[in-house]
């Protein structure tokens, strides 16, 4: 069995065995992720329409702008982001541990509790129990369950590593383990500092920004980078450009991210040294960003035929290129002279969406396109729908980013910088005129959400179709001996 000629097949069947051992919990996580993505899209569309037509559905308290916006943020981050992160991250972790996973039931329970908690939380926001603490809007009664399920899923991840086959540590494992370990810590810290034992005064604001920045930088971003580090070599068949750099990139990201959040408080009522530290850390992020750019993009550079041929790779490469761009913009926006204008404008929202959508979400889409055929032993039923999804997501996010960056910059400039009147005196544009000037950009945002939503529907339709086909031929799918192996480098 171990002769060189059969080696690839053995490795292949081992991977297949691992996929099979965590098949249903992972499928549950990925399907829930897509359901939450559709929910988030609907909330985003409603909020975006309301931001230009404030009278739209205004009589309904549950659908007032503030609540819909918070519901959007939470279903996007915890619903879509969390489910995708756990589904993709834990699957990658298990595959790199080279042994079928222990206790798949624990994964299933963690996944169910997580979704229950997010449902309670988003429902609580809509009915008016939200906290108005950014990215922690879920009411206190959803918190223990959310924290508990994240701990279950984290402990399960550690068990997978603990009982895995001994071998080298892959950088993807580091990223996933980091995300699993850091989340409960930052989440519980923030909840204690902000809700259960509120800290005095602006220490709350600092804890909030520390959390927001870390949720993005130490949870969603590591998961996206880990997935990219796994999928790019896997699909392209080329090794990562530099393994030494990859590890350096991980540890420098881990060290620097935690400080960066303070830059959001520039000019605010906090001691200036915290802000300065945040700006320095944000600029120093250039190192891990450059490493990720080299490792991801150089590995596929010049292999555009492969990128074009594999939808999964195309999504992931779009994601990693976006990571570089979004990070560079974040560095620029950290500088005091830029943040004086960009602070409090649509640009902040633009940068967040650049990271969460153009990088994280696109990378997760790539991972889902790669994983589902292997989990269900069933190819994607429609290549056209995959194409539709890719182009809708690409065009939609580009429109959104242009609208938010350009609209936000104009908004910030008009809000903060004087113009000279006929007599040479500095005057500031009337606030309501600034609001009116953002209108075209906000309309563009609504259009972009519609296009993105179309792409999400294409993904959902394809996914449902695929699951239905798998269930119809379930004898084949559920019995490993009958299943045809899907080669790892196959076009998926």
């Amino acid at each position: 069995m171990n002769s060189p000629s059969t080696e690839p097949l053995t490795a292949q069947s081992r991977l297949n065995e691992i996929d099979r051992s965590m098949q249903w919990p992972t499928i549950l996580l990925l399907l829930s992720a897509v359901v939450w993505l559709l929910t988030a899209t609907a909330f985003a569309l409603l909020a975006s329409v309301k931001s230009t037509q404030p009278g739209f559905l205004a009589g309904c308290e549950w659908l007032t702008y503030g609540r819909v916006w918070a519901a959007y943020l939470n279903s996007m981050i915890y619903g879509w982001g969390g489910n995708a992160l756990f589904g993709v991250g834990l699957w990658i972790l298990a595959r790199l541990c080279r042994r079928p996973v222990p206790l798949p039931g624990m994964l299933l329970i963690g996944a169910m509790f997580w979704n229950l908690a997010v449902t309670i939380g988003v429902g609580g926001i809509i009915i008016g129990d939200m906290t108005s603490i950014e990215w922690l809007e879920m009411p206190a009664y959803a918190v223990p369950l959310l924290a508990f399920s994240s701990i279950i899923l984290g402990v399960w991840g550690i068990l997978v590593v603990r009982y895995g086959r001994p071998g080298p540590v892959y950088v993807s494992q580091l990223y996933v383990l980091g995300a699993l370990f850091w989340f409960p810590w930052i989440y519980l810290t923030a909840q204690i500092f902000l809700v259960y034992e509120p800290a005095r005064g602006v220490v709350q604001a600092m804890a909030n920004m520390w959390y927001v920045h870390n949720l993005l930088g130490l949870w969603l971003i590591p998961a996206g980078l880990g997935a990219a580090y796994y999928l790019i070599p896997k699909i392209s068949g080329r090794p990562i450009h530099s393994y030494y750099l990859a590890s350096l990139g991980f540890w420098s990201l881990a060290l620097l991210t935690g400080w960066g959040g303070m830059r959001h408080l520039a000019g605010g009522p906090v001691p200036a040294w915290f802000v300065t530290l945040g700006i320095v850390a944000s600029v120093a992020m250039a190192l891990p960003i450059a490493i990720a750019a080299v490792n991801h993009n150089v590995t596929v550079f010049g292999r555009w035929d492969q990128v074009a041929a594999s939808p999964a790779l195309r999504f992931v490469v779009f994601g990693t290129i976006s990571y570089t761009l979004a990070s560079l913009i974040a560095i620029a926006m950290a500088l005091r002279s830029v943040s004086e204008v960009a602070q409090f404008t649509l640009m902040v929202q633009g940068q967040t969406h650049h990271m969460i959508y153009a990088f994280f979400t696109m990378t997760m889409f790539g991972a889902i396109y790669f994983m589902m055929p292997r989990l269900l032993n069933q190819p994607w039923p429609s290549a056209k729908l995959v194409q539709t999804h890719f182009w809708c997501s690409t065009v939609g996010i580009i429109i959104m980013l242009v609208a938010l960056y350009a609209g936000g910059w104009i908004q910030g400039w008009q809000m903060n910088m004087p113009t000279l009147d006929n007599y040479g005196n500095p005057v500031h544009l009337n606030f309501l005129s600034i609001v009116q000037n953002t209108m075209p950009w906000l309309h563009a945002r609504t259009v972009s959400i519609l296009i993105l939503g179309l792409g999400h529907l294409a993904l959902a339709a394809n996914l449902l179709w695929m699951v239905a086909l798998a269930i119809l031929s379930c004898k084949k799918a559920l019995c490993p001996s009958n299943s045809k192996l899907v080669p790892e480098t196959a076009v998926s």
């Binding site: 503030g66 602006v202 303070m262 903060n416 500031h428």
Partner: protein, 226 residues
């Protein structure tokens, strides 16, 4: 994975650094801030301000929020006002917060020590509200604005909060209720009806009125009146 414990030490240490540096250090530096009176002295040793010979009647700033304003803040939180309104005046020279009339002095950490939930905010789709209480001309106008922002600020994108108000038939003798809102022409309810704020609207208005930066602190003096 043999190096699992080492990896976890690394994961722990990296986050612990920023945890200690920001949260613990922030708590240490700002967690002990006390309210201050207008009369204070600078301690020659620690260089910190302290209240000189505390007088019983002298107001301490910031003042303890009153109950009704607290209830109004709960509405502000529940409706998600923070997504469009900040509550922080940046220092003079940074942006145009002063020029826009959003405050006469910058906000400092001491301004927030009595707040159980600090709502600094991060988006200015609407104007800053740290000193909003001083810009309110009349409660009636504030209610009219909350009921339908278009009446007071045409072209505003603020959502109307009409669900915080009650539409009632005017009593048979034609006398309006005490709290009924007076509207500008064309914005009032149909003939024979009046709009009355509910308890929630009254509380929200009280909270908005309480947002004031009208006191001096040692670290942030109001400009001397000419």
């Amino acid at each position: 994975m043999k190096s699992l414990p080492i990896v976890f030490c690394g994961l722990f240490a990296t986050l612990a650094l920023s945890w200690a540096g920001i949260l613990w250090q922030g708590q240490k530096q700002l967690g002990g801030l006390q309210p201050m009176s207008e009369l204070y002295a600078i301690d020659p040793i620690s260089n910190a301000a302290r209240i000189e010979s505390p007088q019983k009647d002298e107001p301490r700033h910031p003042e303890e929020p009153v109950g009704l304003a607290q209830q109004g803040k709960a509405q502000y939180i529940s409706l998600g006002c923070v997504y469009c309104h900040t509550q922080q005046v940046r220092s003079q020279g940074r942006g145009a917060d002063f020029e826009r009339g959003w405050g006469n002095r910058q906000s400092v950490p001491r301004d927030y020590i009595r707040q159980e939930r600090v709502l600094l905010g991060s988006s200015r789709t609407g104007p800053d509200l740290a000193d909003f209480g001083q810009r309110i001309d009349s409660v009636n106008q504030l209610h009219a604005h909350l009921y339908n922002p278009q009446s007071e600020a045409p072209g505003s994108t603020m959502p109307p909060y009409a669900f915080l108000y009650q539409k009632r038939k005017i009593a048979l003798n034609g006398e309006k209720s005490a709290g009924a809102i007076e509207f500008r022409d064309g914005f009032g309810p149909a003939e024979g009806y009046e709009i009355v704020p509910t308890r929630r609207a009254v509380a929200l208005a009280a909270y908005l009125q309480s947002l004031k930066l009208d006191y001096s602190l040692p670290e942030a003096r109001l400009p001397e009146k000419p």
